[in-house]
Amino acid sequence: MRINKWSRVTPYLLLLTGGAAVLFWALCSGAVTASPGDVLKILFTPWRVNHTHPDYVIITQVRLPRIVLAWLTGGALSIAGAASQTLFRNPLASPYVIGVSNGAALGAALGLLLAAPLGFYTVPLCSVIAGLMVMVFILYVAGGKTNFSNYLLLTGIALNAFCSALTAIILFMAEERLQGIVFWLMGGLWKTGWEGVWLLLPIVCVALAILIVLTPELNLLLLGERAAAETGVNVLRTQRIIVVVIAVTTAVCISLTGVIGFVGLLVPHIVRLLVGADHRRLLPASLIGGGMFMVGADTLARTMAAPLEIPVGVITSLIGAPFFMWLLLRKL
């Protein structure tokens, strides 16, 4: 069997160069425009730069953490999306479909309403707890059933409706906090700093590592649950691990950035066209592609209507939805 090495490497080179370009563009643009030369100086020779200079402060304390967080969120949501599309063997699946997103959003909204003054980690914690509770409920209902993925999808529909209703009640009770919660729900990266990065970075690394270890199982799950089991996969255990990984990464992302749509659905599809469906290539490429998409969308969000900022979730859906429809039409 001959494999053309270059045809495997080219998409990655494309993604990496594109990613670097987007990163650089994102660092340069904003309310204060920094020249590309200055940005390079600050990035690569920080010891030669005056650390009290406004450009330095803006880039290292405002833009850089925001961009890194955007990258991690986009990457994490894309990985979770790719994993859920495989888990359900359904191209329309994403963390939203199983209800984890809305569950996590409900937890985070509750955290914002009641516990926000208690410190930075309370909202993510509430979000993860709610996400995990949703997941435990899903596993309780669907676990062990022979057609696991059907049950998951149906449970997800019910949970989505239920969690949305509860979130609506929270909004109803929010009173003077209403605006903050609504803005957060729309999805955005404005309230971010390095602390968000340090929370998300290890989670993304662990999630990616677990899924990379599970790539042979993920590939086999595409054959169908029964055929995967007959080929030696411990299907139930694999599905459970994947569900936990999806739930935790999604919940943490959502607690930091609100509900950002379409990244987890769209990016894996585009990346699959580039590198194929083998998860060994799909997952790392999703991390790069999702990050690139998110950083690009966030940069648009903060520059298009400057000094106002459009919620990035609006941008991702605005670009993502038509693009996804185009993708669907093309495939048919």
């Binding site: 007959e230 030696g232 996969v233 194929g276 469906a277």
Partner: protein, 264 residues
């Protein structure tokens, strides 16, 4: 390696048993055909034999080991199964699909090496798929898909093969080629179970046959002794005549089949 079922009963939850006291043995070096009308429990029996279903009574043994004590991976290293379902979508090339069959041989963190590629190549050749190796699975015809999945099962290189209607989409030439290949597989000491509906070409390639009816084995043994007119009439409830052409070749005819009869 000898796979045998001892007096197994299986019922899906809240319904009456589908398998009622079946004993079946797959001997090394033989091809066994499993026949029977629709819904008689052939597929259920096959799933009991690879432990994706667990019988409520009786046990399935692999040599002296109960199948239930082995992990899915250990089972897959010993028993390859080809189910009836063909995945509607599988975004891999033919060669990648066949490579999936190498999974049971890998440990954690392990993936394909040169040996695996060699095995995949040889399985592709055996199923005459060499020219399709780099084609996308989704673009294949039904028969080609079936051959690809068959090559995947062969790539597991197991001593036991369980095949559930593996030839239902194959044309006559590929069907005969496939049956001939099964004989070669058996000649190398492996045991093969073939669930099928074909009474015309398949019997002459079999060493043993088993006829199932309402979850009970009606007859088991030499194909010519099992696939008799009397047994087949009983199992299929349909007028069937069988004439023996040679010692091991039978020909099934349907004397009362009437194309102009209306079903009402």
């Amino acid at each position: 390696m000898r796979l045998y079922a001892e007096n197994i009963y299986f019922a899906y939850s809240d319904s009456k048993p589908v398998i009622r006291g079946v004993a079946l043995e797959l001997r090394p070096g033989t091809v066994t055909g499993l026949f029977g009308p629709n819904g008689c429990g052939k597929t259920t029996l096959l799933r009991c034999l690879n432990a994706t279903l667990t019988p409520q009574e009786g046990r399935v043994m692999l040599d002296n080991i109960a199948l239930t004590t082995l992990s899915r991976r250990q089972i897959a290293a010993r028993i390859a199964t080809l189910g009836q379902d063909i995945p509607a979508q599988l975004p891999f090339t033919v060669a990648e699909v066949v490579m999936l069959g190498r999974y049971p041989a890998w440990r954690m963190f392990e993936h394909e090496n040169a040996e695996d590629y060699r095995i995949v190549d040889s399985c592709l050749q055996k199923m005459e798929l060499g020219s399709l190796a780099q084609r996308q699975f989704d673009t294949l015809s039904g028969g080609e898909k079936q051959l690809t999945l068959l090559a995947r099962a062969l790539a597991q290189e197991t001593p036991i093969l369980l095949l559930d209607e593996p030839a239902s989409h194959l044309d006559i030439a590929h069907h005969l080629h496939f049956l001939t290949h099964l004989r070669k597989v058996a000649a190398s000491g492996k045991s093969v179970l073939l669930v099928c509906h074909d009474l015309f070409a398949t019997p002459m390639f079999l060493d043993r046959a088993c006829l199932l009816h309402q979850g009970v084995v009606v007859a088991e043994g030499e194909p010519a002794g099992v696939l008799t007119a009397r047994n087949l009439r009983h199992a299929f409830d349909c007028s069937i005549e069988v004439s023996r052409l040679t010692a091991n070749t039978i020909s099934v005819v349907l004397p009362e089949a009437n194309p102009s009869a209306t079903f009402c």
